[in-house]
Amino acid sequence: MGDLYVRFRAVLLRIVVIIGFVVVGVRLWDLQVVSSEQYLDAADRNRYRLLPIEAPRGVIYDRMGHLLVRNVPGFAVYIIPGDLPRDPDEYAVVLERLANLLEMPVDSEESPRGITQILQERTIGPYLRVRIATQVDRQVAFIIEEDHLELPGVVVMAEPQRHYYDAPLMAHIIGYMGRISAERLDDYLERGYQPDDSVGVSGIERTQEAILAGTKGQKHIEVNVFGREMAVIASSDPAPGHSVYLTIDTEFQAQVEDALRRGMAIARSEIGVAIAMDPRTGEILSMVSLPTFDNNLFSGGISVEDFVALNEDPRRPLVNHAISGQYPPGSTFKIVPAVAALQEGVVHPGTTLECRGTLLLPNRFFPNDMSQAQPFRCWRRAGHGHINVATAIAQSCNIFFYQVGGGFMDFPGLGISRLGEYAQMMGFGESTGIELSGEAVGLVPSDRWKRQTFGESWYTGDTYNASIGQSFVLSTPLQLLNATAVIANGGTLYRPQLVSQVVDIEGNVVSTLTPDPIREMAISRENIEVVRRGMRQTVTNGTAWRWTFDDVPVSAKTGTAEYTKLDEHGQLIMDQHGYLPTHAWFTAFAPYDDPEIVLVVFLDDGGEGSQYALPVAEDIMRAYFQIPQAEPETELEP
């Protein structure tokens, strides 16, 4: 007992000390030697950040070098989660206050998503900022800046946004930018975008995204715990986006828009399209679709009211009807059966067919009972008499083309399949490939198509109607323009193009427009020449007799296309005489000998093409060739 007993306790204490330090030592061995690498990685992840350096987006000029788009500072609001108040009540107050300023919900799973949800989704670290809103109104941004003491953890940063000059005039061509849509997100992420980047979502902004956006730079930095940059380890400079020159001349575009607006007002048409193109190259000189919209609304982060107003307008101003509208082309389509019949030898340039104003197509089950025959009428009730193909085009004779298309009695016509082949060759039923998104493809009907769609067989009457651009044929204004250009240029279908030049930041030309033929027509020049002559005759001695100037020889084709539309009671809309409403069409090219411009004018529900669409085309041609307006005639047309 006593000393030895007490000494034994001291020995026990020594053992405890040894065990304690050995345990710590083993643990340190495990951490610092065995698993060191893993912790070294973790330490590196803590301190290194790869930050994108935004590349300045390229701008857009018109063909004359006139600036159409500029980058201006916009504002984005971020939250640094670690700087938000710790106290739950104060935290809620800050979010509430910010939500009120930004006019967004605090808590919402639905779109627009609440701040809480955005924070949950995007928070990576306590001191890495989370983007809450972009394109914040300047006033709101200033208020947030001034209130920063009341809004701890909230920061405002400047971010460029687009400002469009000549906004409504060019809106359909240039388009606008917006957030990456959910379904395209993966695609963009793969290309190095960040989830909250702005990208072009329509127009040139969208199709030329890869050219305009440039390449982001990267900065490899060392940060402290607050995410503050302490040192730059490495960086690669961003490559600024290239700038784009359009084929459009803003001044001409404005003249075209004026002309179209006037024409629409006279025709009481709600929707109108005018497109001008160089038939030698496929360069689009002007493209106007009315009504249009202000694409700057989207740069400011479009408000819900504005978007709903645009989206619910029955005239659909956000839609570029020049490429997205599909309409029966009417008589302007007759150039297709004309070249087809000539090339197929169905008619020769001199072949005449008779028009008596009405064609009675016998019922195929009772071919001899003319009382059961179906009447097909020409627009001219008296008939055109015996006419050849060129005159038929000039006079826009329906009965000539019924027979050419569907045949009559002993005269064999083209038939729908051959007619369809030529239509497709000339670009109907396929997208043109212009640098715009949302192009419609139109429709070239066929026997097979009708069976599949309606479960009915194809009748000769269907071919008759298809031959004059009615029944099922649908075309976009751009497709019709492109087909007309084939006649104008003698047989080449070009891809319409809007970008004339791409230049880099230093002004070096990266690429220049080169004509991009889609295909050469399998049609002889002579046959095309016959149709060209017919179109010239249309102006000199045909349906375009209202054409007033002859300074430049113009060729044209008129069109008045019936269309069917149901009213709210499900009844066909008819005019007071019991006729279907019509779209007014007009196609033209000039000069006749060596065309440098081809154009199409379309007035939705515009009535007679020769009466209402023609003056628009004439104004456009006058503007293009700088022919002054004629003196107002004292004697007005009735």
């Binding site: 007490v6 001291a10 951490l31 610092q32 301190r47 715990v225």
Partner: protein, 371 residues
């Protein structure tokens, strides 16, 4: 009285070495990473720590010079002083870092419980340093328990669980080294063992959560997890040799919080690696073993219990701090003796070692070289 020949260099040297490392680490953990460079004058934490070391050294030498029986003789006054200090602290302290253990004295905050612990080592030594046969009864044992209990409660009320744990350790160490019979110790241990789990499982789930957070206050659970994770990353990324003095990315870029106090060992491990960590542990081990040796060879029971108490206290605090840093134990908030920034802790530690030095200088010649 003070003889150089009898001066215990094996206490002095490790103490000075550890303190020097401490000053360096405070510099690295706090001053080296400031954007404007180290701060001038007494704003500089490393210089402050150096100043505290100087004061501590004087205290150490004075205490070494004094006969430790003076402390023993005035144990009643010391005890009253401890209770008074704790009451004053409790009444006046500012709530800083979630604990109320700090008394604000203008430029310096002072943590009187650190001094109280040293005095309680002496009080315990006096109460339990009786003849062996008296320990057969439960008397001294009960008295020691009754004396220590109010101090633990007062510190617990300051929401300083770490220090309360340390005082408990002071009592346990003294009781153990004094030779209190196993049956007494076993009774206490069994009582505790019976009450703790019973009480624990009686509690509702959320209550248990509260108890947990009450036991480990000052840091919210996520914050605690963050610190522990960052500490592990710091230690682990140090590897064999460390990243070099003031080169630790975790500490210099402030990923590691409370790096100049409770988590300073992680900074040290990051910058000096496994080798450095072993060296520091070796210094502590040498010091603690020397203190136990001094206890064994002391002239009387009081000396034995003082030196032994200092050894147990130093070991317990060091071990717990290292274990927290290495995530073997939950976070309780205890500084690493003589390394963590803080004058109260440093000077109190050196006072304790000075008193142990006094014991050492008055010990009897070794009779058994093996022990």
């Amino acid at each position: 009285m003070f003889s150089l020949r009898r001066f215990d260099w094996l206490i002095f040297f490790p103490m000075v070495a550890i303190t020097a490392i401490g000053v360096a680490m405070v510099y690295s953990a706090f001053e080296a990473s400031l954007p404007g460079g180290p701060r001038p004058g007494l704003d500089n934490f490393a210089l402050r720590q150096l100043l505290f070391s100087g004061i501590g050294l004087v205290v150490y030498l004075v205490a070494a010079g004094l006969d430790y029986h003076i402390w023993i003789a005035s144990y009643r006054w010391l005890y009253l002083l401890v209770i008074l200090m704790l009451l004053v602290t409790l009444a006046m302290a500012d709530p800083t870092f979630g604990t109320r253990a700090w008394l604000n004295l203008g430029i310096f905050g002072i943590q009187l419980s650190e001094l109280g612990r040293v005095f309680m080592i002496i009080v315990m030594a006096r109460v339990l340093g009786v003849e062996g046969h008296k320990l057969e009864g439960a008397g001294p044992f009960l008295v020691s328990g009754l004396l220590i209990a109010p101090t633990i409660v007062l510190i617990y009320l300051q929401v300083d669980f770490g220090m309360a744990l340390m005082l408990g350790t002071v009592w346990l160490g003294a009781v153990f080294l004094a030779g209190v019979r196993w049956r007494h110790l076993a009774t206490v241990a069994m009582g505790a063992a019976a009450i703790v789990p019973l009480g624990w499982f009686q509690l509702e789930e959320y209550m248990r959560g509260r108890v947990y957070h009450f036991l480990y206050p000052g840091l919210d659970p996520s914050g605690a997890t963050y610190n522990v994770n960052q500490a592990l990353i710091s230690i682990g990324s140090g590897g064999w040799w460390g990243k070099g003095f003031a080169q630790g990315t975790q500490s210099q870029l402030h990923f590691l919080r409370v790096r100049h106090t409770d988590f300073i060992f992680s900074v040290y491990c990051e910058e000096f690696g496994f080798i450095g960590a072993m060296l520091l542990i070796l210094l502590f081990a040498v010091l603690i073993f020397r203190l136990i040796r001094v206890a064994d060879s002391s002239r009387d029971r009081y000396g034995r219990l003082i030196a032994g108490g200092v050894a147990v206290s130093l070991f317990a605090q060091t071990f717990i701090n290292l274990a927290i840093n290495a995530n073997i134990m939950p976070v309780t908030g205890l500084p690493l003796p003589m390394i963590s920034y803080g004058g109260s802790s440093l000077i109190s530690s050196m006072l304790a070692l000075g008193i142990a030095q006094s014991v050492s200088q008055r010990r009897r010649p070794p009779d058994n070289p093996l022990l």
